[in-house]
Amino acid sequence: MSILLEARNLTVRYDAPAQGLGVTKKHVHALNGVSVSLREGATLGVLGESGSGKSTLAFALAGLAPVAGEILFQGKRLTPAVRRHMRGAMQIVFQDPRSSLNPRMRIWEICTEALLLSGIRSDKKRIGRAEALLAEVGLPVECVNRYPHELSGGQRQRLAIARAIASQPKLLILDEPTSALDVSIQAQVINLLLDLQQRTGMAYIFISHDVGVVRHMSDDIAVMRYGEIIETGARDKIFDAPQHPYTRELLSVLS
């Protein structure tokens, strides 16, 4: 299968908070020369402890953080201009859907925002499309006129997924999409993602603390620490023959 995404040498620096008076300005290397590659339709799982740079990687790939390095998507080098042209071929879903869903917008408006970009402005068309999207993510179609706060946590995450897939992306970046959910609800969202991937052939970058979930979802795995990828490879290889001692330690939290 061909390569969908190739990122080389990604580096993101944040200014560290000044420590006391007159201390010279320091930088936090939130991402330090990270390279990843992802095949079409495959899932790259990203594991790493809190603060290791997982979200920063997600932001950088999605063009939401200033980043040095090179990102190739479908063979094209991503520049801001190319990104504008991509029309949602890459989408991102966050851990806490509440903060990313506009509370004043109705559900049909939320999940069809992307259609505005493609010039579909008719409300009727948008509502029709919204209903199809809700069905696709297993939300009751009656929700279409409601507001996000009327949904449960799991339903809000389904809505965030519906919004993300509205533009039929080739790549979905999922940053801890299930961490805020009860385990049984989490299983529903995981099965939804597996089902969507099978039906649409989307590729995923799946970021999580949960080793068990990453094991179930991923074809390949990247292990992050201190802003670097310390080990990457096929899931079987990472789990059955981890090379880096940190990987071994990280995986040994698995019950």
Partner: protein, 598 residues
Amino acid sequence: MSRSNNLPWSDQIVDLVAGDGCIYALISPGEDKAAPYIAALKPGAPTQRVETGKADIGNTIHGYGLPSLTAAGRKVLFASSGDGGVWRAGAGSAPALIAGGDGAFAFGDLACAGDRVFGVTERRHGAGRTSNAIASICSQSGSVEILFDLADFVSRPVIDPGCNRFAFLGWDLPYMPWERTSLFVGEISAGAASIRRVAAPAAALAQPLWGPDGALYVLCDAEGYFDIWRLDRDSLCFVVSAGADIGLSLAGQRGRSYVIERPGCALAVVWDKGVSGLASLNFESGRAAPVATSVPPDDLICAGGDGVFYAALPVSGAPEVRHLGADCPVLWKGQSSSDGKAAFPALMSIETSNADAVSANYYPADPAGALGIAVINLHGGPKSLAKQQLSPPLEALWRDGCDIVDLNYRGSAGFGRDFRGRINGAWGVIDVEDCIAAIDGLIEKGLARAGRIVLRGSSAGAFTLLHVLAKDSRLAGGVAYAAVTDLRALGRGTHKYESGYLKTLIGADNLTAPLFEQRSPISNVRNIRTPVLFLHGGNDAVSPVNGVMHMAGLLKDNGTRCETCILDGEGHNFSSSEALQTAHKAERQFIRSLMSTD
């Protein structure tokens, strides 16, 4: 319910042993339930099927069968269920019968050292009476010598690497092997006269194993979980715990759950709250460190010259034999009907009576085809385990669009000794409470709706199911496979192995005790208003079919919808592929009919 009408299938790894230069796996093919075969596996080499002629590999000793394979140098020995004999087979030579085979004995659980083979024998005396013994067989002459027949049951003979000593387990009624067993040791040269019982706590011992260090190890649950113990001089001493059960010690005792990887260190299959994983156990520090694997292990692990190998248990689809730590971890992959997509199982915790908690494996349906029907499954234990794997009928229902809740009610294995023991004296009470608590939990969490919940269970699970139906009106229906309806009939029909089990479960010594009647589902028939489908083998000797017919008649008299599907020629466990398909079809049709009436 429109997707594939066929029952999914998958190969199963029944046994796994390390031989000289290769691993032998006993495979039970899933497709059409063909006869089991032995595969010889070697890293970097193609899989070879061991020629076993017309012998059918397996045994039915103790009713459920004991392990059938043992490696003997470059050959493999196996027990055959057809003729009851011990056979030797291996690459490049024709299979040969080395002992038995005349039907007088059945053999199982073999161990081999030089030209000596140790095994468990079962002699059938008619009228369902059997006796078990440890026998020593000379593989040259085929002569059989009975070494020990003083316990009601024996299992797991093992021989030390130097071929000087042997050990085995024995136990007596009314105990089951997970309640209380004894360890026996003897000298090979001195034979029967040298056998003595090892001083050990009153607990369950399982899976004795000689380490490369010459010490005898055994699993023992005296401290609450199956931990590793060792024979030091004359008594058994605790070595290391994983803080969870090592091995499952189910009926059939097929597990090979740990290996001594190197002196002072074991690798074990650990069942932590019913979920399996590998762990490395250090004897010196007492530390148990989980070892990650990309597919969780089943209860089979072995160590050969090339390293450590284990059977891997995927949620659905084909099992694998994996080589731990190797660059090419998959040594063998079975066949299955699955398209590779598997449900994600969440471990759901449910609060139940007496401030206890039980857990269930929850597999939500694919959102695309979700039917909003929850199917709660009750395993056929009561001391069994719903592993994180969908059985073929559950997988089919999941693919149809049902949410599956596979419940590990109290009494299940893989949660330690206390949990397993909770059901003693309380069968038909706490298992029922746990099931009702699961229904409460599902409804409270918004994962299921009253009237859209179906209960299914087999054997003991169907017994629990019938009690739940009598108490809880939120169910749409119940599907009872091989149901236990009448405890007295069960007590009369059961085989020797389980003849004390029922009394422990009910908490009364005599079948005439009123409790046996009170706890029989047939006594509650008036309270059941929910539709029931009975699926039953016409030749079920454990729970006779007339009991089910009787109960079905009473239900209908009461105006409760009840259907029966009797499978001619089938026993307590359905074995033919047609019977399984027929049962599955009837079950789907029944569930569909429940949902279309509302």
